[in-house]
Symmetry: C2
Subunit: 383 residues, 2 copies
Amino acid sequence: MNFTIDREVLLDKLTIISHGLSTKSPMKIMEGIKIDVTDNDLFLTSSNSDISIQILVKDSSLVIEETGKTVVPGKTFIELIKAFDSRKISFFLIEDKILMIKADRKEYRINVMDPNDYPSIKFLNLLNPFSINCHELKRAIEETVFACANNTKNPMLLGVNLKNNANRLIFTATNSYRLSLKTLDVETYDPFELTIPAKSLNEFASILESYDESLPIELYFDKNKLLAKFNDILFQTRLLDGNFPDTSNVCPKEKDTKVIVRFNKDELQTALNRIAILSPVDTAKDKEITFNAVVLKIDQNYEVELSSANIQGAGKEIILPVDIKAVSPLVIGFSSKYLLDALKVLPGNEIEIMFIDGSKQFVLKSVSDNTLTEIILPFRLDN
Amino acid sequence: MNFTIDREVLLDKLTIISHGLSTKSPMKIMEGIKIDVTDNDLFLTSSNSDISIQILVKDSSLVIEETGKTVVPGKTFIELIKAFDSRKISFFLIEDKILMIKADRKEYRINVMDPNDYPSIKFLNLLNPFSINCHELKRAIEETVFACANNTKNPMLLGVNLKNNANRLIFTATNSYRLSLKTLDVETYDPFELTIPAKSLNEFASILESYDESLPIELYFDKNKLLAKFNDILFQTRLLDGNFPDTSNVCPKEKDTKVIVRFNKDELQTALNRIAILSPVDTAKDKEITFNAVVLKIDQNYEVELSSANIQGAGKEIILPVDIKAVSPLVIGFSSKYLLDALKVLPGNEIEIMFIDGSKQFVLKSVSDNTLTEIILPFRLDN
């Protein structure tokens, strides 16, 4: 193996590849990047228990003198290429044992691993793609993935559920105390349902961060895997195996809504951040739902009050809503963290919250965008 | 107690006060801020085992309705004032038990502590000040404090030594493997010697960060304490009790110097950061001195080579010095971290390194500023 390439081009690809690297794997070779140089192409591959990434590096700066393959220790290799300040870098594989990296007056030798020990990774066949816009996909991931569970009581809740029906792709994530629901209009495709691990989606979203937003992404899947293809990148993740819970009854019916309050999003966020300072961090049996518990009260005069109390003191604030429609007073307790998480992803300056009563889940939507629905379960107030 | 003040003014003072707060103290009250409202003045005090801070808050926005004193939980109080977005905030002490904080439509109540339980803090008398420029003091701290020891084999090395003689104030810090020496021209004052805990100096430097650089600072001290006064702030720290080691023989004599190399600082930093990637993090018996060990070689042709090797591989780089004077070849091993730390504080674009031989400490200076001397001990090369 012997090739030369522009440092920036290589580093750009390595940054993507790093998202697929194993860390602290019992198999040392999984912490490595497989480099595969054929007559005309350079392939980079990384893989861990969730994700496999393969990139075909095509660039006018790539000059291949000799083909070959090897596996380099991933973290160190990326760290080195990052630290180089030369424009071009050359690589020479010496007796399949050492990769020599040369540029200007620098010469580094890295001990490499045997590419035959690297597991062969089966990427899905590129047949019958489901096409989706990069920007929309990235946004849908960010708007839902935070709502996934982070413990494994129900392993299916560790992922975001994607359900396609006719021209609608629905993203659902829940930890059973809150739920995030996003609807995307997509091209017609056969119905399917997949649940993708949150961890994989976070890595994927962060790869897409540096990508052209208007790029179309092709998705391929079978029962166990999802493969995303864009540019010359293959990103494959395992899928969660099982049935995602039916959440079709979670969203309350509009006719049951008793109180609708419209808030300026920034004002509500600022007040919640402040009131949360005096909220109990972890009180009751179920700490998930009462984390940073606060209470919202709406009285018969439509005055909206946010309050909290903990061992250090108590706070209350009157919030002036943009608009309010209430047929009955309301007292409801909930995790301010959940509400803040929801506000963070809801687009626009104004949001609307729809309540049934103090014991039922409530719904948040942006006033300017109805593709995203946030639902939060309150906790029981003892009084 | 009942007073009103501009939020920004108060927050500015609280940010300084926070540097003196105890964290996780067995005495809960030491995690508090003492608030003392007299007829015309507001005093804030914080204190921990090293530092005590007292601020006299004078501001045209301060309106005192009623005097009084109390102790508020420091972290929560600061967090709350930070989270407020009102211009003015009012404070009312209710039955010595609760501090009510009011602004606009917000009302917070914090449980307070008994000010009689707060230890009385003796600040030094403001007699016979030693005056020093804020900017110069801050810089001298930053240029030396990093070189202190961080373990307690010799507790005196946990501080920076200040020695005044005639018109010269000398700052010395060492962990016995490296030494940083700074000389400041000061006004005539009686000779003195103090050793100030690095921890206190770091807090002090970070308080000075937001201060007017041209401000004069008055220092007062006795055997046990140092008090700095600037604006309406008193910052007092304990001193280290004992004799700081004599370091007058550490700096090699100029006549013994065999090799002088002048480097572009940026180039040397970049090369060191890169070569350190393949350096052993912790090899020999004495891990302090061999941390990120690298080797510098100068051969008879004046070629300067930096190299490193660890279990993952090896690197070498030829560095082009700006200038070199050598009467003999040199091979020397040292911690790249120590060299990078020294380069970080040495001012200017070019630095000069003076070597005796591979076994003796070497000296770094900025070409443009001779007030700072950095000395590093090499480790023994086995070959």
